[in-house]
Symmetry: C2
């Protein structure tokens, strides 16, 4: 018998998630049936999307959703050998049984020297989000001026670096001096702490007086009020996240954007990365290549211990992390 | 010597334009130089865009911008013969001198039976706006459910009819019972008076319980608050106008749309029709064909007398017109 621990959402979050909203559950897993495998989570991912998704797909008491890098510890399925690693979407669990569906092997050319946790970050969902969001939604081209917020986060830090690789000017916004320093190290042309600037609008204007071609949106709300008027004609806005709004019970309001949209002929598109699921191998190989060559740097904010997973999640939502927030079991 | 009358904007509008904001100017035109032509306006166009554009491109005292169908009354340019008709962008003027640049001849196959004023409406800028907005921005396809507001207006009435021609379901919103009746005559599947419905949201839901693929936006503001949550996944929003907001001195506010944009993967694009200027002949021929075949119906709201042009403009902005608002000199 194997004991599996998991974290459930006691009831739907009101405002910012709190430790009391989570409950640790221990459960013995049944013996494997033919065709099944038992996996043990090595790294788990905490991501901003979990906050709004919890509202949409979870019931009170459900185990939190999410993905992990997990190792096969027992197998009754010849396609999955003991000791091999997979990315799974099994939620916040230490151990789980799978029939193999939805398990994605790490790329076979994964370099020994790279931590497997990158399959949840720069070479995983957040990296792919940056990659497809920039190329397919922002329609990035050489010479564009790119604005990204939450720029030191798991997605934003990759967005800025891909834009630099592609020959763009990159302006990043983040919420601490340490993050701004990190962005400069990553090669961002301009970076600022949105919490301490006098005027967001003036800061954006100064960072790129000619305006912005692409705006990779991770924040929404007041930040977008300041950014929208700075777009160039035919600017493209990729709406990836809206972390400043996820805790609202009453929706925040701001000035309507239609007039800017019309006169500047802007294009704004929301997206979920699984739209390009059939192109994940392409994206993942490109990201892996850039990381291996040192062109794409990564940072991980690791919380140790499965028991600290809610704390890691809450910390990520308030921006404690630089780079990808990871839970190491 | 020829006396030209024109209407100037005395000073920038504050809120809704008023009669006192306009001043009639009379001016003698000089004799023609070689290469020049003298034109006399037959029909002039008043359009919603003039309200926000005045703020952007006019100075106090400038003649109002706009287009007209005009007849050549004198010519010192062999390319322009007396008696021929052109669409010009000469502003609110009865007579004007041109060197020929920017004059567009009516299509050579213009049917005798069609009023030339249609070159300012169904077969002109508003028709082209509907055509390119639907095909190129909404990416309209057979079977789509299309929502359009200001649906009895110059653009909206063409939007709905093109969508019907293309095999879509069309829902239209307008501001009077007479307009709703007109929309039904045009073949709209559903039409309602937004001023008298109890709940805009419920009305939109009832008109298309499965939601909307395309939303052709002419109004903005509160209407968009109700419409955005009704979009289907991968819905497309063509932002053509925002007439409910043009008179604002303090921008109106409403709930942010980022969350809907993301989870439904919506695409919103603002546009100005001159983006497709090189394709005007294609669009105009298609519109002319549909009108000639009776597939595209039109209605004109004609204000007689150049002296009544400000009144016609003000009336159009508050929705007095069904179909295209035209000034007949």
């Amino acid at each position: 018998m194997v004991l599996s621990k998991s974290w459930a959402m006691v009831k739907h979050f009101t405002g910012a998630p709190k430790l009391a909203d989570f409950k640790l559950i221990e459960k013995e897993l049944p013996p494997l049936k033919d065709g099944e495998v038992l996996l043990e989570s090595e790294f788990l991912s905490v991501d901003p999307y979990m906050r709004p998704y919890s509202k949409r797909i979870l019931k009170d008491g459900d185990v939190m959703m999410g993905s992990q890098v997990a190792r096969v510890v027992e197998s009754k399925n010849s396609a999955f050998s003991v000791g091999s690693y997979y990315v799974a979407n099994a939620g916040w669990r230490t151990h789980f049984i799978s029939d193999g569906k939805g398990l994605s092997a790490l790329p076979s050319n994964w370099p020994e020297k790279l931590p497997r946790s990158l399959a949840l970050g720069a070479v995983g969902m957040p990296g792919l989000t940056a990659y497809f969001g920039l190329l397919e939604v922002c329609l990035l081209k050489t010479g564009d001026v790119v604005l990204v917020n939450s720029a030191a986060g798991a997605v934003g830090s990759i967005v800025g670096q891909i834009a630099k690789i592609k020959g763009c000017k990159v302006v990043g916004s983040a919420g601490s001096e340490a993050k701004v320093t990190y962005l400069k190290e990553l090669g961002f042309d301009e970076a600022f702490n949105y919490k301490t600037v006098n005027s967001l609008e003036e800061t954006l204007k100064k960072a790129s007086p000619e305006g912005y071609d692409c705006y990779f949106e991770n924040v929404g709300g007041k930040f977008s009020d300041a950014a929208m008027p700075q777009m160039k004609d035919f600017g493209r806005i990729a709406v990836c996240g809206a972390v400043s709004m996820y805790n609202d019970s009453v929706p925040q309001t701001g000035p309507y954007i239609q007039t800017s949209m019309i006169f500047k002929q802007l294009r704004m598109e929301g997206f979920l990365v699984h739209r390009w699921q059939d192109r994940y191998p392409e994206g993942q190989q490109q990201l892996l290549k850039w990381v291996s060559e040192g062109k794409l740097k990564y940072s991980e904010h690791i919380t140790n211990g499965f028991e600290n997973m809610p704390k890691g999640f809450i910390g990520m939502l308030i921006g404690e992390n630089i780079g990808k927030a990871i839970i190491k079991v």
